[in-house]
């Protein structure tokens, strides 16, 4: 019991403030959450360090040509491993996937937010999310058995109609049109449509209604409102969503492995030719029979694709977060 010095009377004991910012339990609570949050950085750092250490033998031997060269000969006396065609193939497949997926995703988002009545919109949202939950091995299985034959006939039609454009040109007139970047692009598109759709849908549905109503009041038609109001105000968010999809497409492994002929004869942009590349699929394809030197080469390939997707995803989440200010606390 504390005693007041002047008067000598007893003071009632001070009530202890339980929820002070320095309360011991809270200190530990926030420390624990901060440690787990910082684990995200630790994880990224660990991945980079471990891959880099294992990739170093190849990276130091090949230098910059690891990224630009086009020879893969790991078991020679002086192993040469250069990833160029696979890296370019990943980019080609990724971009074809994004080109195919974007119109579908924006359409689906527009339909869900602006055209469908509420209950139907909810069902459509569920369907899109379900598409996102499909495992890639299942998509790959479907791709090789069901979708490929259909896509081959689409490829034939585009070749006959548009063969004079270099992109759709095929050297061999009797080409089978199978296992091409075109088909891989479609498969990737199926996997990234839900990603782009969910970002776009959220941005559409949070859009300021006053803008749209104002445009309608000024005599805007459905099309002009879409073209001049909705798209410009949401474009940065949509681009963020597209980049998220691109990041996913660049890292796609199993599904592409089934539907693409991996080749080190580089295929720049002839999307209908039966050869292409994808770094992640190449790693998986070679892994089973890899010698020690090739093991390091594959690690280096993994490091390259990790850094590329990490950069794309960082930019994407930065843009998406900026475009969704209502998500900040």
């Amino acid at each position: 019991m504390a005693i007041d010095q002047k008067s000598g009377t007893e003071l009632t004991q001070r009530r202890k403030l339980a929820a002070g910012p320095l309360s011991k339990g809270d200190k530990w609570f926030f420390r624990a959450t901060a440690i787990s949050a910082n684990f995200a950085f630790v994880l990224v750092a660990l991945i980079v360090v471990f891959l880099f250490v294992n990739a170093w033998p190849t990276l130091s031997a090949q230098g910059i040509s690891f990224i630009f060269g086009d020879i893969w000969n790991p078991d020679a006396k002086h192993p040469v491993m250069q990833l160029g065609p696979m890296l370019w193939g990943s980019i080609l497949v990724g971009f074809s996937g994004v080109l195919l997926a974007t119109p579908m995703a924006i359409s689906a988002a527009y339909l869900i937010v602006y055209l469908l009545p509420k209950p139907a919109a909810r069902v459509a949202t569920t369907i899109i999310d379900l598409l996102a939950a499909l495992p890639s091995v299942v998509i790959g299985l479907w791709g090789i058995a069901v979708f490929s034959p259909v896509a081959i006939s689409w490829a034939k039609i585009s070749n006959q109609l548009l063969g004079w454009i270099p992109i759709f040109h095929v050297k061999d007139p009797n080409s089978a049109f199978a296992d091409s970047p075109f088909i891989a692009g479609w498969i990737v598109a199926v996997m990234i449509v839900p990603i782009i759709t969910s970002v776009t849908r959220e941005i559409f549905s949070q859009m300021d209604d006053g803008l749209i109503n104002g445009a309608v009041a000024l005599g805007g038609s459905r099309f002009s409102v879409f073209r001049k109001v909705i798209l410009p105000t949401s474009s940065s968010g949509i681009i963020g969503g597209i980049l998220l999809g691109l990041g996913r497409a660049l890292g796609e492994t199993v599904a592409i492995l089934y539907v693409l002929q991996l080749s080190f004869k580089i295929n720049f942009f002839s999307v209908l030719e039966s050869r292409g590349g994808a770094v992640a699929s190449w790693i998986l394809a070679r892994f089973g029979e890899a010698s020690n030197s090739e093991f390091h080469g594959l690690m280096a390939a993994g490091l390259v694709i990790f850094l590329v997707t990490l950069a794309v995803n960082m930019v994407a989440s930065f843009i998406v977060n900026r475009a969704q200010p209502w998500r900040k606390n």
């Binding site: 369907i127 091995v137 449509v193």
Partner: protein, 348 residues
């Protein structure tokens, strides 16, 4: 933009609309069925141009240039969305149709001992792979869920300035290529001399599950009204008690949703498991040693062989995998629906 299109559509307009949307389909179907055209040619060469012209003319007649733009906008968004729907239904339909042929009671519980690539479907099954998948995924969950929730707590409850950076890094981890996760654990195994087992597979899935759990848990924690937390703090509760006794119970269903969506994310991951586990044809219940089968690697292995019975096994396992995903996803949906109903009622 017409904000209430149903309010003014007269009966004649409805009939016209129905005609406009059915006639091109009918013409396309006629060409395919009677004309013997290939389906894709019928779709791209006959149906699409006719539909675009018909819709365009209809819109033009209704409201000149404005009508043309609106009609084409509605047609193309509907067309592309239908394409997405058809693709999804095609995936689901083919897996269910083909997988059902392989499915039988013993396919679910038997393992693949004595089964080769040509063994008929009367023998063997995916029992060992189901158990393997469950064990591996459980191990991952035990590590990833508490950590993911702690991250979500950091992102919603603390006042740190690092939150934005943490959120961006976590989100970009969500895009980690699955094969890189496998390579990472392989590199770790080089240093620690871990053997390939269920445990290494679970470790490889961990970086894939963590960001999903963190993101969904963060969103569900954010849905809890801030007043609840403030009231608890005002009553003198320390932050950790406010979290465990007030916020966590309020966000319970959201946290379970985070768990389920995290599970759905990793249950079908193939590449990391191929890199870090060995295939096994017999049942192995010890995730810390020995080869361990799992559903995705089972599909991958049997699809590699060209024999029809192996292909059937792959389809069957894919169907089982899809059922797993469906159950997880469906439960998460139902819980999520309940949660949003509750919060919306509260808001009113």
């Amino acid at each position: 933009m017409n904000r209430k299109p149903w309010a003014q559509s007269s009966a004649t307009f409805k009939v016209q609309l129905a005609l406009v949307s059915t006639i091109p389909v009918a013409i396309g179907a006629l060409f395919v069925i009677l004309g013997g055209f290939d389906f894709s040619i019928g779709l791209i060469g006959v149906f699409l141009p006719i539909q675009v012209i018909v819709v365009g003319v209809f819109g033009w007649l209704k409201a000149k240039k404005r009508g043309l733009g609106d009609a084409l906008l509605i047609f193309f968004t509907t067309f592309f969305s239908t394409l997405v729907l058809v693709l999804l239904l095609s995936v689901l339909g083919s897996v269910i149709f083909e997988g059902f042929k392989a499915l039988s009671p013993h396919f679910i519980y038997e393992n693949n001992r004595y089964v080769g690539t040509t063994t008929s479907l009367e023998y063997g099954g995916v029992g060992h792979a189901i158990l393997g998948t469950i064990l591996i995924v459980l191990l991952t969950t035990v590590a990833a869920v508490p950590l993911g929730i702690a991250m979500a707590v950091y992102l919603t409850q603390s006042q740190s300035k690092m939150r934005g950076v943490v959120r961006t890094v976590t989100q970009s981890l969500a895009g980690l290529p699955s094969v890189v996760a496998g390579l990472f654990i392989l590199a770790v195994m080089q240093f620690t001399h871990l053997e390939r087992s269920g445990l290494t597979g679970a470790l490889a899935l961990f970086p894939l599950m963590l960001p999903t759990v963190a993101r969904v848990a963060e969103e569900s924690l954010r849905l809890v009204p801030a007043d609840l937390r403030m009231a608890a703090l005002a009553l003198g509760a320390p932050n950790y008690k406010a979290f465990f006794q007030v916020i966590l119970p309020a966000a319970k269903s959201g946290i379970v949703t985070a768990l389920l969506l995290g599970l759905a994310r990793i249950v079908g991951e193939t590449a990391p498991l191929i890199l870090t586990t060995n295939m096994n044809n017999t049942t192995n219940l010890n995730p810390f040693s020995g080869p361990m089968a799992s559903l995705p690697t089972y599909v991958y292995n049997f699809l590699g062989s060209s024999y029809s019975s192996s292909q059937q096994r792959a389809w069957g396992a894919a169907l089982v995998l899809l059922i797993f995903v469906g159950i997880l996803f469906g439960t998460a949906r139902i819980l999520g629906r309940k949660k949003s109903l509750k919060t919306s009622k509260k808001a009113k």
